[in-house]
């Protein structure tokens, strides 16, 4: 069953077509990676999905309903979560409060919120830093905090925009395990440059190039695709 789909999704920025007539389908329960060269329109595309920016034309359906005209916060409340590419935590608030703000949409009551927050922080191994000010965390830890803020919402669709950027090798390994562990409950759309993360976690891969879908398939198929190699992966 399809959780999310777009038809003829297009976005022009002052003459530049960042996303060009994209038809995209994401089945429920899948982990989908979105890859492509810098400037291929990946972040623009997911921003159109969650309503951060308005499309020039085209439609989005989520769980069978047309959400093209819903503002971002209503789409989020339908069960989408979005983690920002450039870390966008509440820098002057504590780590706990950052996650609590994300949690309070779903759970109510001080004790229940605290429990949900600590559970999410445990998943990214940040629990011992709960009382720190988020802006004082290292860049990598802020990335993990972003992910925790996504997880605590228990979204049906989790959109992760370059989540492993700035993480150490061991943190990346932990992230891969985390994503695989979410597979039963969450559909994941993952923008990622780190090919080991893509190859080891994704069920299928969509390759964007110049705002259009260049190829789509399993990791093995994509790895072998000559056009993808030419555009992005390289021949090495």
């Amino acid at each position: 069953m399809t959780l999310l789909s777009t038809r003829a999704m297009t976005k022009n920025f002052a003459g530049l077509t960042a996303v060009n007539a994209v038809d995209f389908d994401l089945p429920k329960g899948e982990i989908r990676a979105l890859i492509g060269p810098n400037g291929a329109g990946k972040t623009t595309f997911v921003s159109l999905l969650c309503g951060r920016i308005e499309p020039t034309s085209g439609t989005v359906e989520f769980d069978g309903a047309d959400i093209s005209h819903l503002p971002a916060h209503k789409r989020i409340n339908l069960g989408m979560a979005y983690t920002f590419q450039i870390t966008s935590v509440f820098a002057r608030l504590s780590v706990f409060e950052n996650v609590a703000l994300a949690a309070r949409k779903r759970v109510h009551g001080t004790a229940q919120v605290a429990q949900a927050v600590h559970a999410a922080l445990d998943q990214v191994d940040l629990n011992d830093r709960a009382e720190q000010i988020a802006g004082d965390l290292s860049y990598g830890h802020q990335r993990l905090l972003e992910i925790a803020m996504g997880l605590v919402q228990r979204p049906r669709l989790l959109i992760l925009d370059e989540p492993t950027q700035g993480l150490t090798d061991s943190e990346i390994d932990a992230f891969k395990a985390l994503v695989r562990g979410l597979k039963d409950t969450t559909t994941i759309l993952l923008i990622e440059h780190n090919m080991s993360v893509v190859m080891e976690t994704a069920d299928r891969i969509t390759v964007l190039n110049f705002g259009e879908i260049l190829a789509e398939g399993t990791p093995t198929e994509i790895h072998a695709d000559a056009r993808v190699q030419a555009a992005y992966l390289g021949t090495g």
Partner: protein
């Protein structure tokens, strides 16, 4: 001791102190403090928008005056007694705030400042324009007989102090409750990072609008009480300087702190009071003090206390 207990102790302590001071202060300072408490309510209202939500309004005199005239007109035209007149002031403030919020919140940043400033000027000019009813610049006096509330004479110094204290205490408790509630925390989130708050699923416009209404209503409560307790309603209170005052008080005391507005109002009031005893150029002294504070305590007095000593201050 938990942060919550400390908060209750500190703010409860301040209220107990203010209540106790009533019995020991000389008449002059006693009168001043009643005035300061009412003005601090105005500053606390301003702080809900500016300090906690990050909305810089340059037009709060509109709300202060809406409360004052809502109260004053109820007394003058309808012959209302103080309690219904106060409610008239609150309703006027809430309605004006809702209307202004719905329009001004379509803008942001500098445009928001200008739009609020312009609406407040329009309000000020409206007071002058309808001078036959409002008595314009000259204003009107609320007579002693009109200030009797259930047998209590609000023009009496002791009663006035108590009334100001009760209003101040209620608003301080309301602010403390608000900023520790989930709703108040979303306001802070919007102040810190509006886009992130939106992408967590919060309706930013709705939260801001409610903040404007709460802020405007509390400011109106101060305006209504000021007119009622000190017996005068006039267009000066709708002028631009009354929009700037709460901004100064909040900046001095500490934006986004519950105690900051009171401390800032107290400080500024006595700074001008004391310096005007010394020289006629008292605004110069006040100005220098403001510059020094801005340089060395950019977060305001309570803001500095919070960042240096008491991290838990709400």
């Amino acid at each position: 001791m938990s942060d919550r207990q400390k908060t209750v102790l500190l703010h409860g302590g301040l209220l107990a102190l203010l209540l106790g001071l009533q019995f020991v202060l000389p008449a002059y300072h006693h009168g001043n403090l009643a005035r300061i408490m009412v003005l601090a309510v105005y500053a606390m209202g301003y702080n809900i928008m500016f300090g906690y939500t990050g909305l810089l309004s340059l037009g709060h005199a509109l709300f202060f005056a809406a409360g004052m005239y809502g109260m004053g007109m109820s007394v003058q035209l309808l012959g209302a007694t103080p309690a219904p007149a106060m409610i008239g002031g609150l309703i006027a403030g809430a309605v004006v705030a809702a209307a202004l919020g719905a329009l001004a919140l379509r803008t942001a940043d500098v445009a928001f400042m200008i739009v609020t400033l312009m609406f407040a000027q329009a309000g000020y000019l409206a007071v002058l324009y309808f001078g036959s009813v409002t008595r314009g610049d000259e204003g009107f006096v609320i007579q002693q007989a009109q200030r009797m509330m259930m047998g209590i004479d609000l023009s009496d110094a002791t009663n006035r102090y108590f009334a100001a204290f009760i209003l101040f205490a209620l608003c301080l408790i309301a602010v403390l409750w608000l900023v520790q509630s989930p709703f108040g925390k979303v306001l802070v989130a919007i102040r810190e990072n509006e886009e992130r708050a939106r992408m967590l699923g919060y309706d930013v416009f709705r939260h801001k609008l409610i903040a404007v209404i709460l802020s405007g209503t509390m400011s109106a409560a101060a305006g209504a009480a000021y007119g009622l307790l000190f017996g005068y309603v006039g267009a000066t209170f709708a002028s631009v300087q009354y929009s700037i005052f709460p901004l100064l008080w909040v900046l001095l005391g500490g934006a986004g702190t519950a105690l900051g507005p009171f401390i800032g109002t107290l400080f500024m009031f006595y700074l001008i009071d004391l310096s005007s005893n010394v020289t006629s150029a008292y605004m110069l002294i006040a100005g220098v003090a403001l510059v020094v504070l801005t340089l060395f305590a950019p977060q305001g007095l309570i803001g500095e206390v919070r960042s240096r000593i008491w991290r838990w201050l709400p």
